[in-house]
Subunit: 103 residues, 2 copies
Amino acid sequence: MLERLSDKWVTLVLTGLASGPRRYSDLSRRIAGVSQKMLTQTLRGLERDGLVRRTVTPSVPVRVDYELTPLGESLMPLVAAIKGWAEANIQTVEAARKTYDAA
Amino acid sequence: MLERLSDKWVTLVLTGLASGPRRYSDLSRRIAGVSQKMLTQTLRGLERDGLVRRTVTPSVPVRVDYELTPLGESLMPLVAAIKGWAEANIQTVEAARKTYDAA
């Protein structure tokens, strides 16, 4: 389950849903570079884990909306904290790697 | 880098070092079920990322201590938060998976 937290597409989809339900096409536009296959796979994984709810409206054409479940919402502070730590420290980690690899 | 956060052995090693420096043998005893290969590999990865410092004391026999760096320490609240969320919610996630798989 927690491997998902470190998956870039998972954090982008969760963050994309943090401000409310979205249609598939809307998510696809908002997440730069995500392939249809990756977005579908990520959404399915999040739905399976109970973090995202998928609602199908039988209009013509069919409308499919995705939203965070309460469980998904409870994860958002963690997603934000991980993102914040990574942004604040990635340069330090990369410098440490360079030093380690050069040793 | 963040894939490490979801690695069980990484969180166990970081947590094992949270209360201060430890010798390899001490860590090996404290972390149930960890193989020598896995512990060595995990420590090297954490050292490479700048999260753990390795100190060699040229006594006889040689003494090797591991400790969190300030960067490693800055990660601990996140490690604890992830662990807390997982423990509080893993049953909900597993139930959601059962429902999804049965659908």
